[in-house]
Amino acid sequence: VVTEFAYLFIWGLSGLAIARALELRGLIAVPIGFALGIALFVALGVVQIVANVSTSPIWTLTGTLLVGLAVWLWKVHSRPSPKQWLALALSGPALALTVFGLRKLNWIGWHSDTFRYLLAGSVLGINRVDLLSLNLITKRMAVYPLLLAPASDSSELHFASLTPLLAVATLWILGWLLWWASSTRASFSRTERALAVVVVLALLVTNNRFVWHASYLNGHLVFAAYLLLLSGCGWLRVRTQAIQPAACVVIQSASAIVVALDRPEGPLVAALALLPFTFHTKLSRFERHTPMLALGSVLFVWYAWVGWRYIVFGISIPSSCSGIWGLSVLLLAIPYLSQSPRLTFVFKRVLLLTELTLWVGLLGMAVRSPRILLDSLRAVVQNTVQDRASWGSSIWILALLVSISLIATRSPERHLLRFPVTTFVPLSFLLAYFRHEAYRDGDRDSLARMLFHFVPLSALLIGVSLFAEWRLPWRSRVSAPEAQI
């Protein structure tokens, strides 16, 4: 209990210092701070791995604490008020009780993949990076193993309270984003705004798979939470004054890095999620380019290290590794390329062209080898229509609500949230080609679990659409445009 509490408390405390330095005010600093603290811990862990220094989690934690302290001393000049001191003093026992209670609950979601993560986490925990096999490095990546590693300090394999607390933080952040989304239209009452938040959160809380992922030992919840932060905070920055530019840049950069190093498809999804912001005309150059440069730099270093591990194991570097390394170079070049007048035509239509490229790529793959696509489509139907992957009807209902929202309503800047969701449709099937294997039926299928990554973001997209206008032409004649804040 003590080890688990210490790690969670320091993650929260350091993240809170960063959140306060970024001028995130009110209670939202708690869940976003928690997420930033975890991201900082992960980033330091990645540095330890690639720099070939001790990966003992206690050093990573010390680094996290010191960075949090340095940020506090450097940026947060005001002393905490007596009220804040009291809140801080009470948060310790409250967290201790939560950790104790969740540990007693023995509430664990798992399957055989969980043990791959546990193995990778334990190897990092005992400071033996040399024992990470290529399979563990390329499939389990860095983020979730780094979050499991500290448990080895208390001779355990995982922290029981981390995943449930991250699920609560995800809901909290989603609720906050929805509340601000509702503020973009003046004509809604507080009751209507509160109702919107409650109903959208209820959509997740009543979903069997969301609750399961709150206990599931795998990187899926981390992926979903940080993807929501990346796109949600970016959208919020463009639409409202709720978040400062620097805060948005830090949150997006940290989230993109966590998403990219959480799962093998992470680099592609993170890059796609950042793309609409990188070319957004309302944002300054600093805001547009910094997260993409951060993502590109981290991918460049990580995949250089992965390539080196291939060489150490005497295996030639596969295209899956060199391809992402090449992508990182492209991401680093985008800010410079975007200045070129010759490419203006491309960059003005970059979202459309990217989505089109993915579909054309899938079509090309399907023509060359239709079997993988057909088998994958069959598996998707079995898993979501015939309910072999425990989703019930929820995925199709969610898809229907997202489609109605996108087709029938109009909301400014909603494409920032929509782009990662819709591009994942062709990307998910392209991933089957990249791994040379079709998806399978049942809960064990990776696509059936990957769908979860987009559930919180889709819920936000629907939530934003609640405050939209009808797209239908006869409606637009009836309703006058409302005041926009």
């Binding site: 609950l105 023995n106 509430w107 664990i108 979601g109 798992w110 399957h111 055989s112 969980t114 043990f115 546990l118 193995l119 334990s122 190897v123 005992i126 033996r128 040399d130 024992l131 990470l132 096999s133 399979n135 563990l136 080895s152 394999l157 995982h158 809604f188 209507e192 919107a196 109903v199 959208v200 209820a202 959509l203 009543t206 979903n207 069997n208 609750v211 399961w212 030992l217 309910d387 425990s390 989703w391 019930g392 009807s393 929820s394 209902i397 969610l398 229907l400 609500l401 109605i404 029938a408 309503t409 809960d443 629907i462 659409s465 609640l466 206008e469 009808w470 409606r475 009836v478 309703s479």
Partner: protein, 197 residues
């Protein structure tokens, strides 16, 4: 009433709220049946007796039991053991070494110069076996089965190991069998091996 309905329909808010409420209702109705159909680790309404994932995993999933059985058996038989392994190109696969040090709870792996399949002390597999590969189909990824040999008078259980006071083991290979052998069973040969080293 008509004007109220009309004014409500002029914005998508209430229609989408209705859709969301229907979705929530469907979720609630389907929640329990989904859980009833799901296998143990995929269930939401489920509470284990222990939080020890090694205990949970080996009971609940045949693949986990097969893939990590060697390390789990070592943890049962001799936690904190020292294991001698061949050095250089002859050493066991990286995954196996990782498993022995993590799930197996071995304290350290000590490299020695020998060949795991050529070092052939006289051994009786059946007389000293305290753990062996659990019964059942082997996963594709598993190329070798395993056994742990140590001094004991008890017979092994399937997939479980008998606790042994032995703290030092040497890693050997016989065809497609990985072996951890209690040093005291091969004392003479081991001393000669060490002297040679």
């Amino acid at each position: 009433v008509n004007s109220t309905i009309r004014s409500r329909l002029e914005r998508p808010f209430w229609l989408l709220i209705g859709g969301l409420l229907v979705a929530c209702a469907v979720n609630v109705v389907q929640f329990r049946p989904i859980d009833d159909r799901a296998w143990g680790g995929y269930r939401v309404i489920h509470r284990y007796r222990s939080s020890d994932l090694v205990v949970i995993g080996r009971r609940g999933n045949g693949i986990v039991k097969q893939l990590y059985g060697f390390a789990f058996a070592l943890r049962d038989a001799a936690p904190g053991a020292t294991i001698y392994i061949p050095e250089g190109d002859e050493q066991p696969p990286v995954e196996l070494r990782a498993q022995l040090l993590t799930f197996g709870g071995a304290e350290k792996l000590v490299p020695l110069r020998y060949n795991a399949s050529e070092f052939a002390p006289k051994l009786s597999l059946s007389a000293h076996r305290i753990a062996k590969q659990p019964p059942g189909p082997l996963p594709k990824r598993l190329k070798h089965t395993f056994a742990i040999l140590a001094r004991t008078s008890n017979a092994p259980q399937d997939g479980e190991a008998i606790r042994t006071p032995a703290r030092e083991f040497i890693f050997l290979q016989r065809k497609k069998l990985d072996l951890l052998v209690d040093i005291s069973l091969v004392k003479g040969e081991f001393q000669r091996l060490k002297r040679g080293h």
